[in-house]
Amino acid sequence: MLALLAHSQPIKADIMTNSDPTPAPEEMDRRTVLTGLAGIGMALGLTGTAAGLAGIAGQFLYPSGGRPTAWVFVAIVSEVAPGAALPFVSALGEQIAIARQGEMGTVEDFIALSSTCPHLGCQVHWESVNNRFFCPCHNGAFDPSGVATEGPPAKAKQSLSRYPLKIEDGLLFIEVPVPTQVG
């Protein structure tokens, strides 16, 4: 370290005395071109790296994977009388109104309506007095089959979404989203 310090002055002095302050014109041209090219190269490299990092950040922030679904048992078909309603809550907390509207004994008898308003995602609730589902956020209303009758959802012709149902061996099943990580 001391040796380095001792040498630092003479070396600097050497450089100062030996260096030519005015390079030849052709050398200056070459130097200008090389410096320019190096600058462009570094700028492109940095831009590319920044774009790559932005892409990685975007991928990182974007939620990965879809929501898996599963068929979940709801009820024994013969035990559900026509006109009866079955409140159902999925594993993700989605409230689903399941009702039997026919007597055929087939899956067409049943309807499973999401309680999430198609307008802006609030939860609708059943108003028995008015025979309708009502969304308190923006005054949307839906008939018992989930078709919008009033408010912004009616204007946009949006209905309550339906969940797929199936009957197997006299048992009613519903297909609902399930958590991605199961214990």
């Binding site: 974007y62 307008h119 802006l120 995602g121």
Partner: protein, 349 residues
């Protein structure tokens, strides 16, 4: 003493004269009227929000399981937690109110006109950032209003043509509110938006310094009134008086009307009566009047028109230099905003 002075001068090589030159922007005389000193008010309130926000962040926990309880703890158990939360909540309210008042003043005095159009655009960006910070802020409490406000907000984003679905996914970290959502709101509220606001304020001030404050003369002014006065100390005293007044107002509000804590978020039940914070009443009422897409597109048109107003106004005034259309547009806009806000405030649904 001399040695100390020399040491300091060597390390901080700027003279008192240079500091005076740097800070002593001549301030136009009309700024002595309080109505014209509104620009610095939201900036001061923002400083207060950073201070109280950092303190609140020490106890706040941004998870669905712990958020509400941590806010309850801040409000009820932690020493002076109720006061700091009240200051933060009322600081946000006043900040949004003063940003709107400042923007109204700039609009009605035509201070956005050439060559200051870009500063109007930066001001618009600041307004939007302030509103989003307010929105993400009350989402953090994780009470019913927070949960359903966040759900509605994300679904409003979903209605934006082309990029809406992507925006909603990025905001909620999924298609619905989930265990990863709250941390996104927290990062936006406590890190991303404050940094963006600081940068925007810096550019806003640089533009003011570059162009100078737009000068105004009033009919009741004596003709020999000086055209400007010094920033230091005259205007600094004005700002100090505003700052002290704000502290008194904020403390009074925090004590007299403490920050409320509603029922905890219940993803299964939207409350029968639900409303956002007052500054979103306009949008909330608008959303009740039209279908989702129509409401979002029309709001987008209004926002784009606000951004472009200096150029729209410029084109109008090119044809008719004496046009007062901007004043009438401003009055109509204020009446519409006040009307929709009052309408939403007085009815349950």
């Amino acid at each position: 003493m001399n040695a100390v002075e020399t040491w300091i001068k060597n390390r901080i090589p700027i003279s008192g004269e240079q500091i005076r030159e740097f800070t002593n922007e001549p301030v136009p005389n009309h700024i002595k009227r309080w109505w014209f000193a509104l620009g610095g008010t939201p900036a001061m309130l923002f400083g207060g929000q950073i201070f109280t926000g950092i303190l609140l962040a020490i106890y706040y926990q941004p998870t669905q399981a712990a958020a509400y309880e941590s806010v309850r703890r801040i409000s009820e158990d932690i020493n002076f937690g109720w006061y700091l939360r009240g200051m933060h909540k009322w600081g946000a309210t006043l900040m949004i109110a003063t940003v709107i008042l400042h923007q109204m003043r700039v609009f009605f005095t035509g201070a956005y006109r050439a060559p200051r159009e870009l500063n109007w655009v930066i001001g618009m960006c600041l307004l939007i950032c302030t509103l989003i910070t307010g929105f993400t802020g009350y989402s953090l409490v994780y009470e019913q209003l927070s949960y359903w406000g966040a759900t509605v907000g994300a679904n409003i984003a979903d209605n934006v043509p082309f990029i809406g679905g992507f925006m909603k996914q990025m905001l909620l970290a999924g298609t619905v509110y989930n265990e990863n959502t709250l941390s996104r709101f927290y990062i936006l509220h406590a890190a991303v938006l404050p940094v963006v606001i600081i940068l925007l304020i810096a550019v806003h001030i640089v533009f003011i310094r570059l162009h100078g404050v737009s000068e105004m003369r009033f009919e009741d002014e004596a003709k020999d009134t000086p055209r400007s006065f010094n920033f230091f100390p005259d205007h600094l005293y004005t700002e100090l008086i505003i700052g002290l007044s704000l502290l008194i107002i904020l403390t009074t509000l925090a004590v007299a009307v403490p920050a409320h804590l509603g029922p905890p978020a219940d993803p299964l039940t939207t409350p029968e009566i639900i409303k956002p914070e007052w500054f979103f009443y306009v949008a909330f009422r608008w959303l009740k009047l039209f279908s989702g897409t129509a409401a979002v597109i029309s709001m987008g048109v209004v926002v784009v028109t606000m951004f472009a107003w200096p150029w729209i106004d410029g084109a109008i005034r090119k044809r008719n230099p004496n046009s007062e259309l901007s004043v009438y547009v401003g009055i109509a806009a204020v009446l519409a905003i006040v009307g929709l806000t009052v309408w939403e405030a007085v009815v349950a649904h």
